[in-house]
């Protein structure tokens, strides 16, 4: 007897469907009911208690053909499938489904690195390939290619790219560096995108566009298909690489720091995903909160200053790197250093200057694409619960200061520390705002949930939209993209109904619901 069921699926039908699914993937690779293996599909990091978002079953498909057969059964029984490749996107939902009772389609077993082309610098990967795995593979074959990984390296190359994730080398915008996909649609049709549509294609992983509309974007942050292969461009190891850290002493220096960074980023002088981290964010990676503050409410500024002083941090800390021919790198460094030296009290650190500083070391590894878990030190700060928000703003000093003050006001009002950093893209700033809480404290979870909703709406009101959000808030974020009476959402749902009429693929993802489940939109938990 299943512990939970998907809505509108009868127990008898569910059992019949499971029997069919078991035959497809093998009994060993389907978990349901009270099977303890199902417990690992919970998300114990979110504000929603993990037992309110339990799947009814997990189906672990191992091949494209198995996926097609699973989809056929799901269509017949109208089973909602929640799909992932690695399931490590904690803060955003982890391996747990959007709704209680959805079935998980776990593709982690499909973890082959199908090709590494050293000359043309790309890889073709399956959904389950993690950054650690690809990195290890490249090193083991003697490749001189780099991956670009997000801060915790345990996630998946495909999943992170499909969710519009980012890293810290010049290849930091992962979706820009994606080239060619293989996708299974809900009806089982297999599509190869871009040049891959040509049966004799020589350029599937080399040229993005093919002929006609470029559809790859449709399969990112969406629920239109199951991506089974993806090409990713890899950066050749440059002959010269110069990572640096610049600290500034005052919180108000943020304005000037960003103003100086804009032209350097826009003109690709600093080509990587440069980070400007607040002292409390950098500090929280390394220290325990209790050592600096045990009282209620957010940590006082004096304690933040003490952390900064103990760890030799500025109130803001910029991490960037230069890449290319060694002589050019040195020339450009002179220019970069002089630009930032106009900030009174700015200090400069190069490789070797902060040996033994774990904060510098994990960021330096990230800037040359070495996956690590250094940033997860954050979870030792104040409890494992965390929700991340990533509003986007123009890369100007005024906007950065406005975002910083807005985030601090909201988080402090709900009693949380304001852990924040900015990541520079070419023209825009991604402001990572982290809500950290003790997940075992029900009252703290409730506060975190209320805070999360206010962060989304407060930043949207100021014109700063979220790049992504925990799946609990997908409908809310979608609402903030409501121009034209929700025109984008309505377009998305028109496509959804056309491609997946039975609504079997990840219903509600990014607020895109199939026709049969649209009334569930925006439903909040009691």
């Amino acid at each position: 007897m299943p512990a939970v069921l998907p809505r509108s699926v009868k127990t008898a039908d569910f059992q019949r469907a499971l029997e069919r699914l078991r035959k497809i993937v093998g009994a060993e690779w389907l978990f349901s009911g009270d099977d303890p293996k199902l417990a690992a599909y919970r998300d114990d990091y979110s504000a929603v208690p993990s037992d309110l978002r339990v799947p009814s079953a997990a189906i672990c498909a191992g091949t494209l053909e198995e996926i097609q057969a699973v989809l056929a059964v799901a269509n017949e029984f109208h089973l909602p499938l929640w799909t992932f490749g690695n399931g490590k996107n904690y803060a955003y939902g982890g391996p747990a489904p959007r709704e209680q009772g959805f079935l998980i389609l776990d593709l982690k077993r499909m973890n082959r690195i199908l090709e590494v082309n050293e000359e043309l610098a790309y890889a073709l990967v399956e959904p389950g390939v993690s950054y650690f795995q690809l990195h290890e593979h490249l090193r083991s074959i003697g490749s001189k290619l780099w991956v670009d990984c997000p801060a915790p390296g345990w996630g998946g190359v495909m999943g992170n790219t499909l969710e519009h994730g980012a890293g810290y080398t010049p290849y930091g915008d992962h979706f820009i560096m994606q080239c060619g996909m293989e996708v299974v649609l809900a009806d089982g049709m297999v599509v190869r995108t871009g040049m891959g549509a040509m049966p004799k294609s020589t350029c599937w992983q080399l040229f993005k566009y093919g002929y006609g509309p470029w559809v790859d974007g449709l399969f990112t942050q969406s629920n239109y298909g199951v991506v089974t292969k993806m090409g990713v461009w890899l950066m050749p190891e440059p002959p010269g690489y110069k990572p640096f850290m610049i600290t500034v002493p005052r919180e108000e220096d943020l304005h000037q720091l960003i103003e100086i960074t804009l032209p350097l980023k826009m003109n690709m002088v600093i080509p990587n995903g440069a980070v400007v981290a607040h002292a409390l964010y950098d500090g929280a990676v390394q220290v325990s909160r209790a050592k600096y503050h045990t009282g209620k409410g957010p940590m006082p500024e004096s304690a933040v200053r003490k952390i900064a002083s103990d760890l030799d941090l500025g109130m803001w800390n910029l991490y960037g790197a230069l890449y290319g021919l060694p002589d050019n790198v040195e020339l450009i460094w002179t220019m970069v250093r002089d630009a930032y030296a106009s900030i009174p009290g700015a200090r400069f650190f190069l490789k070797g200057d902060r040996a033994g500083d774990p904060g510098w070391e994990y960021r330096e590894m990230l800037m040359r694409g070495v996956p690590n878990m250094g940033e997860f030190g954050l979870l030792n700060f104040a409890g494992r619960g965390h929700l991340n928000f990533t509003p986007i703003a123009p890369m100007t000093g005024d906007d950065a200061v406005k975002m910083f003050e807005l985030g601090r006001r909201i988080l402090h009002r709900h009693g949380f520390d304001h852990l924040t950093e900015f990541v520079g893209t070419w023209r825009a700033l991604i402001n990572l705002v982290m809500v950290m809480f003790d997940q075992q404290d029900a009252a703290a979870r409730k506060r975190a949930d209320a805070c999360a909703r206010e962060v989304i709406l407060g930043f949207a009101e100021a014109g700063y939209g979220e790049l992504k959000a925990n799946l609990e808030y997908m409908d809310l974020v979608q609402q903030t993209y409501g121009y034209g009476d929700g025109a984008v959402r309505r377009l998305s749902e028109t496509i959804k109904d056309a491609l997946d009429p039975n609504g079997i693929l990840s219903p509600g993802k990014q607020g895109i619901w199939p026709a049969s489940m649209r009334k569930q939109r925006g439903k909040q938990r009691a």
């Binding site: 904690y90 650690f132 345990w154 050749p236 002959p239 033994g356």
Partner: protein
């Protein structure tokens, strides 16, 4: 300035720039020497799933946490002969404090057993 032949992307650039030093020719075909799930050796499983948090030294959140809760001598997992195999297997499957659970699709049952035994050895 010397450039390695295997550093192909940059070799090509140098040929264009005419700076010299680069060697022509096809790059060697790189052969996959990959360990395949679910039969990977314990050392590899540890490397791609555990080392990020549990390797010795600062910058490893698991080692950092164990250092706080169990003390420095018990902070590093490798060599912890005091942990029974069954205990390690249970924690990996269920998670503990900050550690997320690992599914059977991530670390196979046989791999997990081998990993737990390997962790206990010095």
């Amino acid at each position: 300035m010397r450039f390695k032949r295997s550093n192909y992307g940059w070799c090509s650039l140098l040929l264009v720039l005419g700076s010299g030093g680069a060697l022509a020719g096809e790059p060697a075909a790189l052969q996959a020497a990959e360990h395949r799930f679910p039969n990977r050796p314990a050392e590899y499983t540890y490397k791609v799933h555990c080392a990020g948090c549990h390797d010795p030294g600062e910058g490893h959140p698991g080692t950092m946490k164990l250092g706080i809760t169990r003390g420095k001598d018990l902070a590093v997992l490798k060599g912890r002969a005091d942990l029974p195999v069954e205990y390690i297997e249970t924690i990996v499957r269920q998670g503990l404090i900050e550690m997320a659970p690992f599914r059977k699709t991530e670390i196979g049952d046989t791999e997990l057993h081998a990993l737990a035994q390997w962790l206990r050895t010095p």
